[in-house]
Each structure stands twice: as C-alpha cells, then as structure tokens.
C-alpha cells in the first residue's frame, strides 16, 4: 500500500515546490492512475513514492509518505526497493546486462541471493509472463514490448508488493499495450498496489480504480475513470483521449492522381544487404546481435504511390516498415525503380528529396543552440543565401523563436520534437517520413505535432507516418499504406 498525507516536495536550488499538499492512497489490489500535462508534477510524485526524492534527488520533503506502513523518510532507496518495484518509460534505461537471463537475475545476485534460488525465481516469472523463449536472447535484440516484459520480469523476481509504472505504454504498439493491460489486471488480482503515471490513458479503462489529475504540482481532480471521459476536463488539463478509435483498419488505401513518389517492383533483401556497408562491418567488430523479432525482412516486388497528404504506414513489427522507409529515403538501395514526381530517380538522388525524423530526438541534435541547429541543416544542403531569414522562418513556423538561444538538449520532449521536424524540413524535402514522433508526448504537444504535420501536408508534401500512437493517426492520418497489402505480390 502507498499512502501520501499532505506531501510537498521542493528540489534543491528551486524556490517553488514541485508538488504541493498531495494526499491519496493506493491500496493493495488496486490501480491508481496519475495523469496530467508535462510539468504537472507526476514524475516527482513517482520519485517520492519510490524514495528517489529526497534520498537520491536532494530536496526537502514534508508530510508523510508510507509504503506498507513504513515511512519512506526512514528507509534508504535500496531498502524501499525490496518492497517497491519501478518500471521506467524506456526499460532499456534500467538494464545492466546484455543477456535477458543475466539481467533478470542481476539485482538478486548482488543482493546475495544464491544462484539456485535466482534461477528458480527467474523461471517462475518467465513462465508467468510467457517469456521463456526470450531468456537466452540478448537485450539489444528485443522489440520494445519484449524489453518491457523483461523489465517487468526483473522487478517481479524481487517479489515486491508495490509497483510503480512510469509511462509504460509510451513506446508500445497497441497489441503490446493490450498485453500490458492484461498483465496489470493479473497483478492487481494478485494483490499488488499499482501506481501508474501516464499520458496515454485509454488503455487503463476497466483497470484503473482511481484517477488523479494533476496540474502545477497539485491534485486538481480525482475520481474513477469516467472522470476522464469528460471532454471539458481533458481539455482543461491538456489530457489525451480516454477513448481512442483504432483507425488502422478503416483508413483508405492511398490513391493518387499526381503522386509525388512511386515505387515499381522494388525488392530488398535485408539479410544480404546487412552483410555489407561500413556500419555493418563496424557492428560486427563489436559483435552486435541483430533483432530477434526481425524475420528476414524480405521485400519483393513492392509497388505503391505516395501523394501529398499524410499517409500512415501500417504493419506489425517485423513486416518491413522501417526497411521500406529507408528505401524511400535512399538510405538503402534495393532493386526496382522509384519515380519522383514522374521522373525515374536513383537512391542517391532520393536522399536529397526526402527527410527522415527518427524516434530518438537526441540522436539528431548536434549543435549548441536551437538557431545553430537549424542553421547547420541549411548549411549541410548548401542553402547559405538568406540563411538567417530562413532560420527565423522555420523557428517561427514551429514556435521555436523564444527558444533560439537555448541549448537543444535543455528543451522539453515536445520542444525537441518540433525542433527535429524543423531540421528535417530545412532542406524542403518532397517527402517527409516520421518514426514515432509523439512517443512520450502529452495531449497538448501531440496535437501541436499533428497541426505541424497537417500544415506541411497542405503545402503539398508527402508525409509518411510510422507510429503506434492511435490518437495521432486519428487526428491527422488521411490514408494508409499497409504492409500486408504491399507484400501480397510475393
């Protein structure tokens, strides 16, 4: 059980409290959802519950926080971790070992549990979570859903009574999210006290017993899940949808009279092409294993056309979405022909007309200020005339002007996402491909990204979205390219 009574917390070097006067309870056998816009204090609440505040993040805690009746102030984080398990948004952030089995037993072995007992617990949990087949695999070869199961398994082998989940659905596809929901239900029935902090709320319908909505460090609304079905509440607090339609099956197949990009009988053998190329050799030096979920990504005789507007690229994990995106940007070269605005185009030329926004914004930021970052992208494509005017224009389009002199790494998630999209558009590509642009973003920021994409689509760009975010698809996707349809020909 988690009990908060009149809890306030102020970080060191801050004048204001990050959370103020919080009081709530999470009973054994129940799930409490805490949600709110970015910066509302959810993360601090979570850190207080698992003892990171004040033991790890120096600060001042007032009020009473109890885990199973024991004050957290009187225990170290290590002691609390014997009762409380925390699952991070990105489970890879908490992995120490390379192998799944090594990782699951890591903390137990350090704590002095003998090897036999560790093995027994791992086997039991692996059976429970249906992940026995993953035990012999490398962490780096797992899909996001599989990584999360491993992280959850690692927590469960420690036999906690309380679980805290920090945005667990952020990186998951709808199917993995559904699976996670089922696992939470099971854990709840087994008597765990579960605290979930998340922007995405729809998947907790029927699971969350209580909902707390936060703003500016305070709990502003509390109730059951029905509270979140109120449009006014969601609008006021910048929340995502409580009920999300899965438009993946209903989006119309893309049909274009004036396509921007056409592919004719494009084929690509992932296995063969993975053996060559500079980075493949480099990866082999470090013996980096390939994804276990990846089937031989064979694309054979794919033909499609892409026009102006927003098209969702839909398919299960391992069906070749990323491979197709890489072919369309010219990063990989297969056989077959691409036509750009009716003209036959080589892979190296496709590179000049395509932009790609990867999921991890941190990989795409290199410079010291926001302004420099955009300027560098313009410089890279030789657009040095009227450089400052073009930088100003892009910053204004993406509402980045007040952030011009900020370091890109100091920006929030939503701000970074807008910046990397601005950078991708710096070279004015005809095709823009985005891979999970809204993972981890709250409702307001997700809508902002959707608006940006709609604006660009109206300007005549072909935008291809690879995303698990059903709300984003609902908001802006106009058409679909389905991998199973494309692969019908072989």
């Amino acid at each position: 059980m988690i009990e908060f009574e009149n809890v306030s917390y102020r970080y060191a070097f801050q004048s204001d409290c990050a959370v103020k006067d919080l009081s709530f309870k999470v009973d054994a056998g129940s799930v409490v959802l805490v949600t709110g816009a970015s910066g509302c204090g959810k993360t601090t609440l979570m850190r207080i519950a698992n003892g990171l505040c004040p033991h790890y993040y120096a600060g001042t805690l007032s009020g009473s926080v109890k885990i199973n009746g024991v004050e957290t102030k009187d225990s170290s984080v290590g002691e609390l971790s014997q009762t409380v398990g925390t699952l991070f948004q990105d489970p890879e952030d908490q992995f120490f070992a390379l192998g799944v089995k090594d990782e699951m037993g890591f903390a137990l072995k350090v704590a002095g549990v003998n090897a036999k007992e560790v093995d027994a617990r791992i086997q039991k949990v692996a059976q429970r979570l249906e992940m026995e087949s993953l035990l012999s695999h490398s962490i780096t070869a797992l899909s996001e859903g599989q990584k999360q199961r491993v992280a959850l398994g690692e927590i469960l082998v420690a036999l906690p009574k309380v679980l805290i989940l920090d945005e667990p659905s952020a990186n998951l596809d709808p199917e993995a999210t559904e699976r996670l929901a089922q696992e939470l239900k099971n854990l709840k029935n087994q008597g765990f006290a579960i605290l979930v902090v998340d922007h995405r709320i729809h998947w907790l319908r029927g699971i969350a017993d209580q909902v707390l909505v936060m703003r500016e460090g305070k709990i502003c609304q509390r109730g059951d899940f029905e509270l979140l079905t109120n449009d006014a509440v969601r609008c006021e607090y910048g929340l995502r949808e409580a009920d999300v339609k899965d438009v993946r099956k209903t989006l119309t197949q893309t049909q274009n009279e004036a396509p921007i990009l056409e592919a004719s009988n494009v084929s690509f053998d992932y296995e063969k092409n993975n053996q060559s190329g500079g980075f493949s050799r480099f990866k082999r030096i470090f013996k980096t294993p390939e994804k276990v979920s990846h089937r031989a990504e064979l694309l054979k005789n794919i033909s499609f056309s892409l026009g102006a507007g927003i098209t969702a690229l839909i398919g299960e994990n391992g069906t070749g979405k990323t491979t197709l995106a890489r072919l369309m940007t010219g990063l990989n070269e297969g056989s077959g022909t691409f036509y750009l605005k009716g003209k036959e185009t080589k892979a190296s030329d496709l590179l000049k007309h395509a932009g790609l926004v990867l999921q991890n914004a941190d990989h795409q930021l290199q410079m010291q200020t926001v302004s420099e970052e955009i300027g560098a992208c313009l410089f890279a494509v030789g657009q040095t005339s009227n450089l400052q005017a073009r930088i100003d224009e892009l910053m204004q389009t993406f509402d980045l002007t007040p952030l011009a002199q900020r370091h890109p790494q100091s920006l929030s998630g939503g701000q970074k996402q807008r910046l990397v999209i601005a950078c991708a558009l710096a070279k004015d590509p005809d095709i823009l491909i985005l891979d999970e642009p809204t993972s981890g973003l709250d409702g307001a920021n997700m809508q902002r990204v959707a608006r940006c994409l709609n604006d660009q689509a109206q300007k005549g760009k072909a935008i291809l979205l690879i995303t698990h975010d059903l709300e984003l698809l609902q908001l802006c996707a106009q058409h679909a390219l389905r991998m199973d349809e494309l692969k019908k020909n072989f």
Partner: protein, 184 residues
C-alpha cells in the same frame, strides 16, 4: 530526516561506478571509430582520437569528483578491451602507473573536488601513460632502438591531441552548463 544507521558505507556509490562504465564505453567506441574512419597512423585521426579521449575523460572526472576514478577507469577499460577487442594487456601496467601519477597530481593540487582537478588529472594521465608506454615499447623493441625513435613522433602527435583535448574538455563543460546538465 534521513536514517542515521551505523552501516559501513562503501567508498564507491553504484551511480559513480555506473558513470565510469558508461564513459569507458563511450571513450573506447569513439577512439575506435576515429581510428577506423581516419586510419590508425593518420596524424589527424591520431590527434582527434586523443582529443576526444581527453575531453570525455575530463567530463567524467567533472561528473564523478572522487579520488580513484582514473584507476578504476583504466582497469575496467583495459580488462574489457582485452576480453572483447583483443587489445594488448602489455599496456595495462603503463596505464595504471599513469593513472596513479595523475591521482597523486590531483591530490597535490587540492583534491578531486577542485574546479581544475579534472584538467590536471587528465593532462598528467596522458603524459605519464604515454611516457611509460614508451618504456614498454622499449622493452618490446630493445634489439632495434631505432624503431623506438620512429614511434616517438606518433606519441608526440597523440599528446598534442591530448593537450587540445584539455581545451575541448573545458568547452564541453561550458556547453554542458549551458544545457543545464552540469551545475557547478
């Protein structure tokens, strides 16, 4: 109010050791990448390799302000490199001696918590480990001392890179402060 239990606390915190491990990975990978991209004997890549090495090491010492970081880093890096990449273990004694010299140097300028200690530490570490590695090279090539003379320019170019890395480290720390990642 935190618990005041009488428990013997270890010198190292797990977070500090984790930071050392992660930076050791970043430093190893960077060196290898530059060597692969530019060629191992290319003067530009030699300097850059040492520049990046020194700059990253300065950031590490700025993050983990404790005596012994260089020794742990050297041991961990050498063992893992030997196991995984087949790096020569003959360089370990020279690197350890270099690390110890650097630790003593840091202590003499006021300890690991002083603002300049990362720069003093890395400068001494680079110099001492290169000098001692020359000693190891002499043992390997003592039948032909002339070969040692041909190695000296390579080491000298590398050390120039290390010195440039001290400035790069200073600029990196400034940028990290701008980004809000390093406070002091």
């Amino acid at each position: 109010m935190m618990t005041n239990k009488l428990v013997k606390t270890a010198y190292w915190k797990s977070q500090e050791l984790v930071t050392i491990g992660i930076f050791a990975a970043a430093i190893k990978l960077s060196s290898l990448l530059i060597a692969l991209a530019g060629g191992g004997m290319n003067p530009v890549s030699l300097m850059l390799k040492n520049l990046v090495f020194s700059a990253l090491l300065i950031v590490l010492l700025a993050r983990v302000r404790k005596s012994g970081v260089l020794v742990v880093f050297t041991l961990v890096s050498t063992i893992v490199s030997a196991l995984l990449l087949g790096s020569s273990i003959t360089l370990l004694p020279a690197a350890i001696v270099g690390a110890l010299c650097a630790e003593v140097g840091i202590l003499m300028v006021g300890g690991a918590k002083k603002a300049w200690s990362p720069f003093v530490g890395v400068a001494l570490y680079d110099l001492a480990s290169k000098v001692f590695s020359l000693g190891v090279s002499y043992l390997m090539m003592r039948e032909t001392p002339a070969m040692l003379v041909s190695v000296i320019p390579i080491i000298a170019i590398g050390y120039i890179g290390s010195l440039m890395g001290l400035y790069a480290g200073y600029r990196s720390l400034r940028e990290l402060r701008h980004a809000g990642i390093v406070r002091s």
